[in-house]
Every structure is written in structure tokens, then in C-alpha cells.
């Protein structure tokens, strides 16, 4: 103690150069953070306020006048049927794509985990859609699903008039009328117009979304699975777990909790942002059945230059996203309580 006091007293200029160094360090920290913080404000935060502000107006680009509309835009969104369809389409898409792509991702991960070295090949194949530009692949699906030219209908109609048709008509199941089955009527008539027919459009869009997304979830689950301690499986075996389902419920699924939370968050947000497939294939139709929010924003604000209205949709969209993320954060705090 005495020595420290002596040192500080006897070497004042050393002391102040230390202080100068500390100040410089602080100054440097601010400098390092300055660009990032500034950009966060300008690019991420300010636009939210801009959108919020514009959402109460009827602003258009290039138009010098701008009127205050109060909450009229919002009333339209939640009141008019075409915008209710917008919310419905978006929610439907998310509610379908998220669980299915997560389930498929998990299933694929577990299957791949159990087949040894060959699993690498499957892993690579299943991950390809994630790498390929969605727009490009959507156009390919568009062509493949074309009612007359497309490879899918072509393939399906190969089975017509043969044993394949009989099998898939399910007529061989008692009490089932084979001639009324989907496959038989399609053979007789024509196979569906997958993208143009209102009954099929949304399922197809969902399918493309799932096709693109599940590989990513698979990779995350594969990592999660390797993180499950092997001794837990041993303990479970000794405790009496003999079949796969019990093992899944007792060990695998709970240990994948953190992974699942992450996967659900990412997949949900990405599903909300769906745009490419809709803009390239359906333009929100037919009859607004695939009129998702991002497309609506694009159509209203950019193509039709109804910026005020588009801003209102943007705000609603942000609201949805924030609700999802906060719900998930809350669930994480509550349930994933591991050491």
C-alpha cells in the first residue's frame, strides 16, 4: 500500500499520460461506433418514423400536396375485404410454411443423422434450394407447373389409363368410388392449372416456400442434434425407453428447445417477407388469394404510387413482426431454462 502511494506521488507525469491514454481509448471507442450507430439511426430507425408519419397521409411521390387522413388508411386495411384478404393470405402462408418447413427440417435432420456416411449426400441436396435465387427457382416451378407444357402435369398424366391410375384412384378401398377420385377425374378431364386455379394457387406458393426453406432448418437441427449429450440417451435407455417415440419425447425434443426457438423465429420472419414467388407467378391473385403484405406494399406504394397507404401497410407489417419476435423472446425466457 505504501509503495503504491509513493509511486503515484513521485511520478505525476506518468499518471497524466496514463489518463491521456484512457481518454484516447474512449475517444477511439466512440469513433469506432459512430458509423454503425449513425447508420442504424438513418437506415433502420428513421424509416420507421417516416413510415409511421406517412401512414396517416395520402402522400404520393412527385405530388406536392399531402393531406392528413387521420386513421383512414388503417380503417381501409382492416375494413375493406381486399385488405382483409391480404392479412388472411399472409397469415395463412406463415401458418402453413413455418410448421411444415420446420417439421420437414427436423425430420430430414433426424433421418440423415441415422443413415451414416450417405447422409452427406442428402444433406447437400436438401440444402441446394437455400442457395438458389428464389426468383429463378420460382420461375422454374412456374414452367414446371404449367398446365399443358409443364413437366409435372406431363408426369402425372403418364399414369393415366394404366395400373397407376387404378392404384391412385383408391377404388380398390371398399366403399370408395374410384371414378370420383381426384386422380381419375383429372385423367378424364385435365390436370389442374396449378398456379392459375384459385384452389391450388396458395398451396403451390406455400409449397415453393417450404421447398426453399426447409433445408436451412435441417442444417440448424443437424447441429442441434449433435449437441444432445449422448449420456442422456443412455440414461433414457436404462430408464426404460425402448421405442423411438418415447426417446424423442423424453430426450431429443426437449434438448432441441433452443434450436427450435431460433428456427421458428427465423422461419417466421422470412415467411412474412414472402415476395418473390408472388410477384413473379401470381401477382397476388387469383382474386387476391395470394395477396401477401410485401406484395401489397409493392403494388400500392411503388406501382400505384399510393405511398401513404403503402406506409400504413408497412406499419401493420412491422407490428406483426414485432409481435412475433416479442412472443418468442418471452417464450424463450419462460421455457428454455436449462443450465
Amino acid at each position: 500500500m505504501k509503495e503504491e502511494v509513493a509511486a503515484t506521488v513521485s511520478a505525476p507525469h506518468v499518471n497524466s499520460s496514463l489518463k491521456r491514454a484512457e481518454n484516447r481509448a474512449k475517444w477511439v471507442s466512440y469513433l469506432f461506433c459512430f458509423p454503425a450507430v449513425t447508420l442504424m439511426f438513418i437506415i433502420l430507425l428513421v424509416p420507421i418514423f417516416v413510415a409511421a408519419g406517412l401512414s396517416f397521409t395520402d402522400y404520393s411521390l412527385g405530388n406536392p400536396d399531402m393531406n392528413w387522413l387521420g386513421s383512414k388508411n388503417y380503417e381501409v386495411i382492416f375494413g375493406r375485404s381486399s385488405y382483409q384478404k391480404m392479412i388472411w393470405a399472409t397469415v395463412t402462408y406463415v401458418v402453413v410454411v413455418v410448421p411444415v418447413s420446420i417439421g420437414l427440417g427436423l425430420g430430414a435432420a433426424m433421418l440423415i443423422n441415422s443413415v451414416g456416411r450417405l447422409g452427406e449426400i442428402y444433406k447437400t441436396i436438401y440444402f441446394l434450394p437455400v442457395m438458389a435465387a428464389l426468383l429463378a427457382m420460382a420461375l422454374v416451378w412456374d414452367l414446371a407447373l404449367h398446365p399443358t407444357v409443364g413437366i409435372i402435369n406431363d408426369f402425372l398424366s403418364l399414369g393415366c389409363g394404366s395400373g397407376v391410375e387404378t392404384f391412385f384412384s383408391f377404388g380398390w378401398i371398399p366403399f370408395v368410388d374410384g371414378s370420383q377420385s381426384w386422380y381419375a377425374t383429372s385423367c378424364a378431364d385435365e390436370f389442374p392449372n396449378w398456379i392459375g386455379d384459385r384452389d391450388y394457387t396458395m398451396p403451390v406458393i406455400c409449397f415453393i416456400g417450404i421447398w426453399q426453406a426447409f433445408g436451412f432448418n435441417m442444417v440448424l437441427y443437424l447441429a442441434g442434434l449433435t449437441g444432445v449429450p449422448r449420456e442422456l440417451y443412455h440414461a433414457a435407455a436404462i430408464d426404460g425407453v425402448t421405442n423411438g417415440w418415447d426417446q424423442f419425447r423424453l430426450v431429443t425434443w426437449p434438448m432441441l428447445g433452443p434450436t427450435t426457438i431460433f428456427v421458428v423465429t427465423i422461419t417466421s420472419i422470412n415467411s412474412f417477407k414472402v415476395f418473390d414467388t408472388v410477384e413473379a407467378l401470381t401477382w397476388g391473385g387469383p382474386a387476391k388469394s395470394t395477396y401477401v403484405m410485401m406484395y401489397a406494399i409493392f403494388e400500392k406504394a411503388v406501382k400505384e404510387n399510393l405511398v401513404g397507404f403503402g406506409s400504413a401497410i408497412t406499419v401493420v407489417f412491422l407490428g406483426f413482426v414485432l409481435i412475433i419476435t416479442f412472443t418468442q423472446r418471452y417464450l424463450v425466457e419462460k421455457r428454455v431454462h436449462y443450465s
Binding site: L232, H234, A235, A237, I238, D239, G240, V241, S339
Partner: protein
């Protein structure tokens, strides 16, 4: 409670032989410890007994039943793992009741939400609760019932793991290095607790560890394994005093036994260098041998004493006793244990002389096999 018979177990992983013809007869109610350095195969053997791994050849019997084809859950054994392997998402009570739930409730009864309404479920659940309470009381963890493993200390988790093993009253308890994750103080405490548990339950305990102190203090019998071979199975006393292999002698006992090269002469008299070891007659004559002598049988005398000349290079003062590390003129290092007061007499850097008491000398041939001396029988 049952005996466990291990017969000629062979196990290889790929081309590496991990267990070589291991056979042990474990008595009913015995506390046997499998001890050896890492990689000797002891954990593998334990997993084979449990049914988590299959042997390449050989068989295991628990009680009168050969269990080789039985799933782990049907062998009526319980296991405590090194990492405790508690289900992190379940509370203490739920963790302990898992083995009972898996056995007493059928698939439908275990189904989430609706399972409790299936007939028979309520009755089974209350019987489960009774057994769980009995066990938690015995282990002193009743207040922890609703906590999750993440909220428990290491020692508490260990007790919960033991509880989960106990609750089924299995025929044998298998323990895989359960104390390795505890700090030294906790470990000493838990050693006593486990030993006490064994006395109370009177079950067969098969315990695996790499710590020879644990083996010596807890076991009825110790099985020393190295590189897949079972070297010796004997009481701690015999393992210490009567090792059949030099590797056993070196592994058991701390500090390590002193090994010195020596010669056995025409009539079996033993000479270490130039010093004759009085009172020890080897049954193998005329060959190079190794003499093992524990630190407590080695004393230092002044350098004029007719023993092995040496120089003191280091000493350790443990309060009541002291260890002296000396270097012989011939180059070998020897450790001697003496009363702490000897520090006044022998200072580091000075010369002294090593005296070896002939009473507890062990002789080994150059392959490590124990050689009898004419007044004793080797185990």
C-alpha cells in the same frame, strides 16, 4: 441384489482391442471398484454390463439370468453417469419418477394431457409418488423436488442421479466415475455418503473410477484394469500389499512405489547395486529383477550408514509427515516417507543414505510379474 458374473468379455472398436477376455465374479451385495488409467476399458465394460454396448464375445449374467440379449431397461440394473445425465427440462421429482413412469404406465397413460384420464393411471401415479418420496427422504433432497437440475449444485445433482437409480430397487447399481465432476472437498464427503448408501441398501455396487484413492477407500474388492486386461481382483489390503503385477503396484498407492533394478544371485539373495538386501530371498535365482518398495518402507540415514548412497534433491512438508525425494548415485530417484521432524535432520542438497526395510519388499521379474520370496505366497 444379485451377483453379477462377467465371463470372458472381448470387445474391439475397429482394430483396437479394448477388452481382452475379462472375467470377474462379483458377489451379491459386494461393492466392487473397477479402477485403472483412462482408456483401460473400465467404462466400456460397465456399459457392456448395462447393455448400452454389446461385447464381441463372452457373456454377462445378472443373478441367474444371462442378460446378453436383453435391452438395458430389462436387465434390472440402474446407472449413475459421470455427467449425471439428468433430464434438464424436468424437475427433480419428475426426473426420479421417469424410470417408474416408463414401467408402470403404458403408452396411453403416459400421453400428455389425456393420459391421466386413462383408467389405472391415477392409481399408478400415486404409487409412483410414494416411491419417489421415500427415496428423496432417504437422500435428504425433499426440498428440491420442484427445482430443475440447472438450479442445483453439483452435489445435489449427484444425489438426484442416485435417487433416480435407487427408486427402482435394482439388482445392481452401476456407477461411472460419479465423483469426477466434484471438487476435492465434496468428493471426500460424497465418498462416505456412497459407502453409507451401500451399507444401507445392501445391493451390489459396481463402481468405475480412475482415482485409486476412491478405489481403496470404498471397495470391498478392487479390480485393476490396464489396456483392456484385468490385472488383479482382490481386497484393497491385498492389492496394496500383494500386487501380482508391477503395473498394479505402481498404480495403487500414493506417492508411487519406488522401483529399483536389482539382481538375484545363485541362492536367491537380492542385491541392489552394491547393497545386499538382507532378509529377502527370491525364489527365482540368477537373474535381473526389479525391487519395489513403498515410501513408508524407505528411510533416510546419515551418509555413513551402509545403505544406498544418495543426495537429497527435494522435500515436501505435509505437516505430520514429510516426503523426501532423493537421487541415488546410480541415478534413480527414490521417495521416502518419514515423520516431519526428520526435516531438521536432512536438508535438501546434502548427502544421505537410503535404508530399505526388508519387511514390505516386493520383487518383480523384468516383465513385471511378481516373484515370490521364500517366506510368502504370491496371490
Amino acid at each position: 441384489m444379485a451377483s453379477v458374473t462377467i465371463q470372458n468379455i472381448d470387445k474391439s472398436f475397429g482394430t483396437t482391442e479394448v477388452l481382452k477376455k475379462v472375467s470377474i465374479d462379483i458377489q451379491d451385495g459386494e461393492f466392487i471398484v473397477l479402477v485403472g488409467p483412462s482408456g483401460c476399458g473400465k467404462s466400456t465394460l460397465l456399459r457392456i454390463i448395462a447393455g448400452l454396448d454389446t461385447q464381441n464375445s463372452g457373456s454377462i449374467k445378472i443373478g441367474d439370468n444371462t442378460v446378453d440379449n436383453l435391452h438395458a431397461s430389462l436387465r434390472d440394473i440402474a446407472m449413475v453417469f459421470q455427467s449425471y445425465a439428468l433430464y434438464p427440462h424436468l424437475s427433480v421429482a419428475e426426473n426420479i419418477s421417469v424410470p417408474l413412469r416408463m414401467r408402470r404406465l403404458n403408452f396411453l397413460q403416459r400421453f400428455p394431457l389425456i393420459g391421466q384420464f386413462i383408467p389405472g393411471a391415477k392409481a399408478a401415479q400415486s404409487s409412483i409418488k410414494k416411491d419417489v418420496d421415500e427415496v428423496t427422504e432417504m437422500l435428504g433432497i425433499e426440498e428440491l423436488l420442484n427445482r430443475k437440475p440447472g438450479q442445483l449444485s453439483g452435489g445435489q445433482r449427484q444425489r438426484v442421479a442416485v435417487g433416480r437409480a435407487m427408486v427402482r430397487h435394482p439388482q445392481a447399481f452401476l456407477m461411472d466415475e460419479p465423483l469426477s465432476n466434484l471438487d476435492a472437498e465434496r468428493r471426500v464427503h460424497m465418498r462416505a455418503e456412497i459407502a453409507e448408501l451401500h451399507r444401507r441398501l445392501e445391493s451390489t455396487f459396481i463402481y468405475v473410477t480412475h482415482d485409486q484413492a476412491e478405489a481403496m477407500t470404498m471397495a470391498d474388492r478392487v479390480a485393476v484394469m490396464m489396456d483392456g486386461d484385468l490385472l488383479q481382483v482382490d481386497t484393497p489390503r491385498n492389492i496394496y500389499a500383494n500386487p501380482v503385477d508391477i503395473r498394479v503396484a505402481e498404480f495403487i498407492g500414493s506417492p508411487k512405489i519406488n522401483i529399483l533394478p536389482a539382481q538375484a544371485g545363485q541362492t536367491g539373495e537380492v542385491n541392489i547395486g552394491k547393497m545386499a538386501l538382507a532378509g529377502v530371498i527370491s525364489t527365482v535365482k540368477n537373474s535381473e529383477i526389479q525391487v519395489g518398495v513403498r515410501p513408508e518402507s524407505v528411510t533416510l540415514e546419515s551418509k555413513d550408514f551402509p545403505g544406498l548412497a544418495c543426495r537429497i534433491v527435494h522435500h515436501e512438508n505435509l505437516g505430520s509427515e514429510a516426503y523426501f525425494h532423493v537421487e541415488l548415485d546410480s541415478g534413480e530417484r527414490v521417495i521416502s516417507r518419514m515423520d516431519a521432524s526428520a526435516i531438521d535432520q536432512f536438508t535438501t542438497g546434502h548427502e544421505a543414505s537410503v535404508k530399505i526395510s526388508s519387511k514390505n519388499v516386493l520383487i518383480f521379474d523384468n516383465d513385471g510379474q511378481r516373484i515370490a520370496t521364500s517366506n510368502e505366497v504370491v496371490a
